[in-house]
Symmetry: C2
Subunit: 607 residues, 2 copies
């Protein structure tokens, strides 16, 4: 205990000095959790190979309250993995020690800072340990009290209990104060206990500044079969410095340089040469996968087959080749057809129920443990998880998203179910890949490309059946496109993808019979774009028309227009611009001006 107290004092010293040096940051939110984290890392509970952060059986620690980064970095300083000099670079331009932890710092499991996301990431890591890798490592998540109001936390809580994740331990730092004053429940620890235990978690309420209580809590937590555990700790924001303790107005604010001395003096004598080790994990390796034989693809040219079904079939076909695949779905596996995979490989399929935020967070957790998560729901419903999607990009993610039911072409179910902003959403993500296949063969091949590619990939699928266009041996590299109709006399270029490619092909037939040749491009890779082919087509035809079953902003049309921004060929975009509604698919394509008739009309207008 004496040692822990000494370490905690040093950590508080590092928190204060590093934050004051940075001139910004959240020292008071760090001080409240200092004793909790000191006891975890240096009290013998956490097991981690400091020289090998990639050890598959390391325990995992996620700071869901990412703003407690001064504490996070101070812990690794005491563990000997950050020098004092490096610590003083916190929040500076060239430092890996960013304002909120990102994977620029190699001991960060996942970037946090948008609140209420860490527990879901932990769920993914714990699911991986228990059901996929079959490893005994534990996942610890430090949570803030303010962030417990995020619904995503309760999604994670319910799923963790459902999957009996007894290898997942949450620690809530109940310091009573949010950014702008008291939280909803203040220091009423019973409020948290009642709610969390009602979902089937074991809960342990403690004084978060008593090492005796903290250690006893961890001892119970690591031996609690059948259910996840939440340690609910009463703490004091700013603990250790009287003029910061439990005070409003000190969120996200370090002491000024002049006050730092006073603050440090209150800590008493500090031994800055103190360093502490962490016990090694058991040297286990992930469960070996059974070798499986590859499967073949079979489609009949011209035969209608929904791309969403081809997505499900592709997962089944590809698993033997990519045994790190796990599949997650939000209770719509019979619509996205991830159910094909579930039927064949039930142990690698995770039903995440209607809780998209937690599903995406858990996928990031799987990805950070070396898996290739394929995550599916309706394209429209990925908007529910935009914040999780956005945040993932800061964690070097390898997540594949499959959004079905794209566009107004779904018909009768109406606008609530239509993915009309999914391309725009996924395009904003740095280095993302956005794919939109038009037939079963290209879907299968693009799912394969997605599995091969390290990074975030979105695959958009269509509800209704579309005819098979491509031969089985056609290749669909990311960043390319297909010129599906072409002649030397082409007057106009039509760029389409998915359902609108079929409309464009119908338009082509009618126009060509009238002696109007047009070039048709299947832009199956919307990001990255095949700029070369687009420029070439633009330079050889009078105009480019884009056609998409998506709102006009941020979709295929703007992507192509941006790529041709320095070309002199005009680009015209046909897209969803009227309030969509229920109706027959073809009626809606006509209504929105993205049907074969609309394409023909536009071409005639331009000639």
């Amino acid at each position: 205990m004496k040692k822990l107290e000494e370490i905690a004092k040093l950590i508080r010293y590092y928190i204060l000095t590093s934050a004051t040096e940075a001139g910004s940051g959240h020292p008071t939110s760090s001080l409240s959790a200092t004793d909790l984290m000191t006891a975890l890392l240096f009290g013998g509970f956490f097991r981690f190979d400091l020289d090998n952060p990639d050890h598959p059986n390391n325990d995992r620690l996620i700071f869901s309250k990412g703003h407690a980064s001064p504490l996070f970095y101070a812990l690794w300083t005491v563990a000997g993995k950050i020098t004092e000099q490096e610590l003083m670079t916190m929040r500076k331009f060239d430092s890996p020690l960013e304002g909120h932890p990102t994977v620029s710092f190699r001991y960060t499991e996942a970037a946090t800072g948008s609140l209420g996301q860490g527990l879901s990431i932990g769920v993914g890591m714990a699911l991986n340990a228990k059901y996929v890798d079959k490893l005994p490592y534990r996942t610890f998540v430090l949570l803030g009290d303010s962030e417990m109001s995020e619904g995503s936390q309760w999604e994670a809580i319910q799923i963790a209990a459902h999957y009996k994740l007894d290898n997942l331990i949450g620690i809530i730092d109940v310091n009573r104060l949010g950014q702008r004053g008291e939280t909803m429940y203040g220091h009423d620890l019973t409020a948290y206990k009642k709610r969390i235990s009602s979902f089937g978690w074991k809960t342990i309420v403690i004084d978060g500044h008593s090492f005796k209580e903290i250690r006893s809590a961890y001892r119970q937590a690591v031996r609690s079969p059948g259910a996840p555990v939440m340690i609910i700790a009463k703490t004091i924001k700013g603990k250790g410095v009287s003029f910061l303790e439990d005070k409003d107005g000190w969120h996200g604010k370090p002491p000024a340089k002049d006050d730092l001395g006073k603050a440090i003096q209150e800590l008493g004598a500090v031994n800055t040469s103190l360093r502490a080790g962490i016990p090694f994990p058991e040297d286990c390796i992930p469960e070996q996968k059974m070798p499986l034989s590859a499967e073949n693809m079979q489609y009949v040219p011209g035969e209608p087959f929904p791309t969403r079904k081809a997505y499900g079939k592709a997962l089944v076909r590809l698993f033997p080749q990519f045994p790190d695949i796990v599949v997650l779905d939000a209770e719509v596996s019979n619509s996205t057809y991830s159910e094909f995979f579930k039927e064949r490989y039930p142990e690698r399929f995770f039903e995440m129920y209607i809780a998209e935020q937690n599903m995406v967070g858990a996928a990031l957790g799987f990805s950070r443990r070396g898996k290739i998560p394929f995550v599916s729901t309706f394209g429209a419903f990925f908007t529910r998880a935009f914040d999780q999607i956005r945040m993932s990009q800061y964690s070097d993610p390898n997540i594949k998203f499959a959004g079905s039911h794209a566009g107004v072409a779904i018909g009768e179910d109406g606008p609530s179910q239509m993915g009309l902003e999914d391309i725009a959403m996924f395009r904003t993500v740095l280095n993302s890949v956005v794919l939109y296949p038009s037939d079963a063969v290209s879907t299968e091949k693009l799912v394969e490309e997605a599995a091969k590619h390290h990074g975030m990939v979105y695959i958009r699928t269509t509800r209704q059946a579309t005819p098979v266009l491509y031969p089985l041996d056609e290749q669909f590299p990311i960043g390319s496109c297909k010129v599906v109709r072409k002649s030397d006399q082409d007057r106009i270029t039509v760029v389409a993808a998915g359902i609108t490619l079929h409309e464009a092909l119908h338009a082509y037939e009618e126009l060509v019979s009238e002696g109007i040749p047009v070039r048709i491009i299947d832009l199956y890779s919307i990001k990255p774009l095949d700029t070369v082919t687009l420029r070439e087509a633009a330079s050889r035809t009078k105009a480019v028309i884009t056609v998409e079953d998506h709102f006009a902003e941020g979709g295929l049309g703007e992507a192509v227009t941006a790529a041709l921004a320095d070309s002199s060929t005009s680009v015209y975009s046909l897209a969803v611009r009227k309030m969509p509604k229920s109706g027959k698919p073809q009626e809606l394509l006509d209504f929105e001006g993205i049907s074969r008739a609309a394409i023909i009309r536009k071409i005639r207008e331009l000639l």
Copy 2:
């Protein structure tokens, strides 16, 4: 009771016949809730002026499980507001009776269909009744059991309890079956009861097919002071038709025409001329607002003042003129500066804690009750509520969003806190307005324009102080822009907004001193765009450069490029294209190539 049974039978008849006629839809999910809704509307509990759906004191009914639309329309048919003939148009192109309810049908309170959103909308309506209009109307929300796994439900549950919304009554139709099989808790009603009551709600567990129990539940629910009430009803999916009852594989599927007769026969004799009234509400009107005198604006030209602070000041200034304003914030009012409004008009300010989804849903509820909600958080965190934002557009919304801390210019806090996809997100929304002021005066004027405009408006504000550029009497109409630097010799046009406008003005000074005149446009209205002025500038200069503190996709650059897609002037977009990180604001603007230096470099390159 006899009468209710007759009505329920007729409603089941309408559900089956209308869904079979449509050939799609969710009759089984409707049949499970039929008795619950029949008793509510026709058992004397619901009070509603059928000829005046806009009566301010009508009770409100929201179908959060929007897929139960056949039931919803059948209820209004029995109430005499839909003819049998109209009912048979359900899901057809020209019908207001869409696949999931939208406001095309005038008795729909809010469009639903993306699950887990109705309770938040109800929270907004109930907050309005209790704290703003001070009216005795009640808000009823029909919930599905599957959708209870959405985190947004728990956000609504916690806030409703916090605000003691005893005028809010939820009814969960626990029919055990989700889309693809059993829900997480199946028919374990205790699971719901425990969890919901732990949050402070009164819960009533009943048999959802016993009129005796249902009526008793409503009687208790309407007399339950101090807390919201959840009626948790055990029901059978497909209730009333033996071959549909409690069966997997019947979600979202009506009986075929051939089976319809068999289904109807099971109901027994139906009286299709049966119609039923609904008791009138008390004839109350909303509480009158106190007349207040208008306030003035004061800013000193050239003096630095953060636009986020100007936002807060504008709310205070404008309230006397727009007394329907309510302000909601997600626990960051001291960052967004909505706290200025809270301090002045605390009774019109609602702390929604860190739960953005519910905040936006509640804002829609307020909007549907005639208020003008201004909703604020960091721009980045609106991504948390993209699904709610997206869905709002189908409910004729009048919501104003204010996102602070835009872009990499926030500096040290790092990427998790940077709004870098907010413009793209809000641009996708049909008929949305996206505003990005650069100084305090334009912020004040644009908040005023937003209040005047009926519709969804996004206002993006900046963390740090920027100098006041405009005189106090300058006007900023939506859809226009300001040409802030102009000469007849302009070589290049630079289009910027917000923080990058200041970078562009610095670049201008340097270039003009070297004899290189450039045109500078303040594109404060990113949507709608002032296409005329942009075209004019494009036609008079060699190239257009856009500069934005936002990812390259879907932002200002693509908006301008799309607007100039048929012009021959090339457009070059400077935007955030490298992985952002912590650092000083100016370092980051330089790093991303959106600073004054980058603008100058690009201009030199083009000349």
